[in-house]
Amino acid sequence: MPFLEIDHLVKEFTRKERVIRAIDGIDLMVKEGEFVSIVGPSGCGKTTLLHMLAGFVPVDQGALRLDGKPILGPGPDRGVIFQEYALFPWRTAHGNVMWPLEIKGVPKAEREATADRYLDLVHLEGFRDHYPAELSGGMKQRVALARILVLDPRILLMDEPFGALDSQTRELMQEELLEIWGKTGKTVIFITHDIDEAIYLSDRVVVMTARPGKVKEDFRVDLPRPRRLDIKKTPEYAAYRNKVWDLLHVEVIAARAQTPDGRA
């Protein structure tokens, strides 16, 4: 049985009294522990797909199942990471990581210790008492990561998590994410428009079409693990990169001709 099941998913929006089909029948099966990236041109519905998996946006047609159970709303079994971090600015790094444990009703001493342990995991032990405003973008995203890992979710849903970071920080964060993924063995759905990021991180890359979003291609990335950043210099990596580039380029051109309200 697949761990995550996306079963003929359809999503439509109404804009200015026009019905726009954002997602047009996506089928996808993800195994437990798999790292799957979803790439596609902007407006292809990849973020909408993630929001539906998180339970923020209702499903129009089709079904989503996690471990056999239908996804009907938000829940702590799915940890969501946003591009804009969504940290609570009135709480320190440590306070942010403790937040979900307070909601869960974990005793104080235990949640303090657990939060410390997860700050160690993301290498932020030295920034425990810093507020989000005092942290860099990369550090903020690490706090956000610790904040969801503390609940031990079944799956991580990441929506362009490194999209707001500069390219050096971005590569370091990718390396760190792989390290954490290696330690925790979580299933990851990773939305990005960055081809390199998708190939470097993933077991599988799913390329989506321009709107209405469908799966255009779904293939495995058979690069050895653990991966280091210098894998990007190998010809195998370059071959994957060219393949995704070719697939995506056509869709980016198609997406460019679309207007946000659905007129062609």
Binding site: P76, V80, A86, P89, W90, W99, I103
Partner: protein, 260 residues
């Protein structure tokens, strides 16, 4: 070597316009260009201020004015925050009150004062009611906007970490809206003072507005200005107190205030 302590320099750089204005006043007062009674010297104003402060007259009027202003303001805080939050959270309540607020906002509330006198009489109640009404408009709208402006992702993050709607309100929406809510307070508080003093000028036998009005009617402009100075000092002190409170409540986002 620092020839000039930087704290003192900053202080002067920020505040020099106040003594400059007072100096201009004093020059005009002594110049003979205008009647000294219309522009009395600061010395005279200061003497009267000091005399009435020591005799307890100013304190008495100030206490009454403060009671009315703060009473109405605090009621507006409670009602405005509650109503604003309820409107932001509940569609039915929003639909019920939004038209009233949109329609009522441009009406000068002071125009209702004669009606309020009719209902509540000339004393405290009519003034407190007017302060309450004025403050409630501002605070409700700021609370409403503050909560509505909380980014979706922050609320989603909270709900995906298992928070129920009550937890989302108290632990996400309210703290996130707090800077905006305090902006509402900061607008409403000086307005409360303005309304009380204005209505006391219209018709009253106690309060700083009455003190100013009575002095003015007695052609004692210096005393009238001493009363205005008292209002200015109180207004300034109240605003500073509110900033102090705000910077403790919204500690993660300090508001820059020079030498507060």
């Amino acid at each position: 070597m620092t020839p000039f302590p930087s704290k003192l320099r900053d202080f002067l750089a920020h505040w020099y316009s106040v003594p400059l204005l007072l100096a201009c006043w004093e020059i005009v007062s002594h110049s003979g260009w205008v009647q000294p009674r219309l522009v009395p010297s600061l010395m005279l104003i200061g003497q009267i201020f000091w005399r009435d402060l020591l005799s307890g007259v100013l304190i008495h009027h100030t206490t009454v004015t403060l009671y009315r202003a703060l009473g109405g303001f605090l009621m507006a805080v409670v009602a405005g925050c509650t109503l604003g939050a309820a409107m932001a959270r509940n569609r039915t309540i929003d639909a019920l009150f939004e038209p009233i607020f949109s329609f009522g906002f441009p009406i000068p509330r002071i125009a209702l004062y004669p009606v309020f006198i009719f209902i509540f009489g000339l004393g405290d109640a009519s003034k407190i009611a007017l302060v309450f009404l004025e403050g409630m408009f501002v605070i409700t709208l700021h609370t409403y906007q503050g909560i509505r402006a909380v980014p979706n992702t922050m609320v989603w993050a909270g709900s995906s970490m298992g928070a129920n709607s009550r937890q989302l309100f108290w632990r996400v929406l309210l703290p996130a809206a707090l800077p905006m809510i305090f902006t509402g307070f900061r607008i409403a508080l000086p307005v409360a003072l303005i309304i009380v003093v204005s209505t006391e000028i219209i018709g009253e036998s106690v309060g700083l507005g009455y003190y100013i009005q009575f002095a003015s009617a007695s052609f004692d402009d210096a005393k009238s200005l001493a009363g205005i100075a008292a209002v200015a000092i109180i207004g300034f002190a109240l605003d500073r107190a509110l900033i102090w409170l705000r910077n403790r409540a919204v500690f993660w986002q300090p508001e820059a205030v020079a030498l507060g």
